[in-house]
Symmetry: C2
Subunit: 411 residues, 2 copies
């Protein structure tokens, strides 16, 4: 960790994580920045490992993102290289060449095809990844490959995260227990540069590439795509999921196969844990906010309304101030551009119904709401009364800490 920031008050302890058979990890230090900590992470996968991935929607992605997009259709991975301290984004041809050179070195040391080496970088943008350091990092990390110190890897992929973020779960698939481990760096403490979320998921399940991608897409839609810190989107956001097959279950090829539901549920659960950890490390976050929208015309509409609420600076500052300002919820619903009928709207803070039928509830008592808002975990519920659409998203409050991190600190 960069060390300058205090640990988020919403931090959770690092969990116990088992190794994943077929995954070897090495970390190393190179001077991308004036850090002494490890900042290069190399992961070697057993032959046949399947990969799926989701990258940023940004129209200005980093070269690493472009390389991932090009390689993902192949569905197989032997290596992953992650750089922290330099995102290599917006660096033109030089950056692209550096990313390709580093991937080629990984292919060389692992004895595999570069088309099966995946890359991710996070940190300063606009400075091409220094090739010599990048290659040196591969060599050093390769020399340290082992069965996996998850905490070391989690720390090595971080930039200004205030705590290491990881989670695990398991599922029974075809009579075998398969394990899933995820590590993530947040878009949280993003000084001195820009938000990047990098998430890496590892499992020993055996699964066909197309089905694994399908499961990841579905999981991301209701987890990573349902969190927001400040509505901004990185040029480098990447989630990659690797399945080594070492658990020995019969390879899943269809959602109809026995155990596919269980694996998909476990993957979604893991992604949700990781996504909420990112919010818990949001810049300046003092409170975790869960927004649940029900009664929208459909799921997409519910999600847009929920995100409109979660992205509203006025709502987020009200929560920071412990202010039960339900009028700002009305405002955020109204601005979402989605079907909404003011006179059907109801709003809850925690368990308390605050507004219903276009007006505050009769005899509204703010006391239980104020008590709920005084806690670290705030729940806002909105029912639109129009249809079956529902969605849940997570964000954090907007505080002086956010401003300090993003305005007062200089790059």
């Amino acid at each position: 960790m960069a060390g300058a920031m205090e640990t988020s008050p919403l931090a959770l302890p690092f969990p116990d994580l088992a190794p994943i058979s077929g995954v070897r990890i090495g970390t190393a230090s190179v001077p991308y920045k004036n850090w002494t900590r490890d900042c290069v992470t190399l992961v070697e996968f057993a032959p046949g490992t399947v990969v799926a991935g989701v990258t940023t929607q940004s129209k200005c992605p980093s070269p690493e993102v472009e390389l991932c997009r090009a390689k993902l259709p192949g569905g197989r991975a032997r290596g992953l290289i992650v750089n922290a301290g330099n995102s290599n984004a917006f660096t033109g041809a030089a950056g692209r060449a550096a990313a390709e050179a580093q991937a080629a070195r990984v292919a060389q040391v692992l004895g595999c095809d570069a088309a099966q080496v995946f890359s991710a970088s996070t940190g300063v943008i606009g400075v091409p990844l220094p090739v010599a350091l990048a290659l040196d990092g591969v060599d050093k990390a390769h020399a340290r490959l082992g069965t996996g110190d998850w905490l070391a890897a989690t720390n090595a992929i971080g930039t200004t995260d205030t705590f290491p973020k990881a989670a695990s779960t398991s599922a029974m698939v075809g009579g075998r227990r398969v394990t899933l481990v995820g590590i993530i760096k947040g878009s949280g403490m993003i000084a001195p540069d820009m938000a990047t979320m990098l998430g890496f998921i590892f499992t020993d399940a055996a699964i066909a590439p197309a089905l694994w991608q399908q499961m990841l897409n579905a999981a991301v839609a209701e987890t990573f795509n349902c969190i927001t810190v400040d509505s901004d989107t990185s040029t480098s956001d990447t989630v990659l999921a690797f399945a080594t097959g070492a658990a020995g279950n019969p390879e899943l090829a269809s959602m109809d196969d026995a155990g596919a539901d269980a694996l998909a549920a476990a993957l979604t659960d893991l992604c949700r844990q990781l996504a909420i950890l990112v919010v818990r490390d949001g810049e300046g976050a003092q409170k975790l906010i869960e927004v649940t929208v029900t009664g929208a015309v459909d799921v997409a509409s519910a999600r847009r309304i929920a995100m409109s609420i979660a992205n509203s600076p006025l709502l987020k500052t009200a929560i920071a101030g412990g202010d039960a300002n339900w009028g700002r919820v009305v405002m955020a619903v109204g601005k979402a551009g989605e079907p909404a009928e003011r006179d059907l709207l109801s709003i809850r803070f925690g368990e308390t119904l605050v507004a219903q039928g276009g007006a505050v509830v009769p005899g509204y008592d703010e006391a239980p709401v104020a008590a709920h808002l005084a806690g670290q975990e705030v729940r806002i519920g909105v029912d639109l009364g129009l249809g079956p659409g529902r969605a849940r998203v997570w964000t954090c409050d907007l505080t002086h800490g956010y401003i300090s991190i993003n305005a007062d600190y200089r790059s």
Copy 2:
């Protein structure tokens, strides 16, 4: 003014404003809040006055907005009533009845049809406008109708604005000089409740209702719809424009009529002045930011990209910190969801080209950029290199002041 806030460092002095023939104004004090200042504004228009208007896009508008929407197709106005201190928003049937009762009282005292009385309210939401006070306000303001103290009216429509905002201009139409005056209250200092922008424009030009509405729509599109403080949208935003016809020019009925272009240009200029004043009073604003996007595929795309930049908390905090963080501009372009080619993108701060062709310019010198960012007026230019689309929008930086106003102050 509410008095609790310091005047914005970006405030401009109140301009000299001439009376508009056919417009009479009266202001009054009633205790909607514990204010002693005037907070009810009544405007009487000469018979035949034409009205055009644009209201919030919110799906949860106030009753006053609903009434304006219902009456605008009539195209004629005899009265305007504005309440400050209570927005009457999200108040259900009681709020609707209160707004209708107040408009009926205005119609009674002015001797006109209530269908020609327009209403706007701003302030606390969720509390129905107190009918007795609202009617009393009409009577008191009616007793004080005069040829127009613009400063008194501007102060009376304000809530927590830190300075009174108005502008004027003129145009030659059909051989007559016509005058335009606009007063506005900002979505700026919006504590303790929510952003509302109310703008009222008055001219003595003679113009047909359909053409006046057409001109206002065009002016709003590139002025009020091109400003943002925090991306939030009020349930009560309203711009109404009244044309008394007292200047005696031949009534304009088509953009082909002589002088129509001049009036349209003057109206747009006036709206731009008023819109930028709102940004200058943005919550916590220390810097005015102008974002110009060129080279987009079309105007709509240019505007969405410009608004993506202007609404980015990361960019706005960087500007607050005087940080030439052009990477955040790249990020905001990338997340806009509009056509953009990273390797064609160029970015300027002030006059300085910072990035071009997908990378920082060779030998980039941050000194002139830092000097530009140290000023109160910051210009960001983005060229996409794709087409003819261009747009210009205005915003302010995101500072500790915003957080203090919106989180620390309690309603």
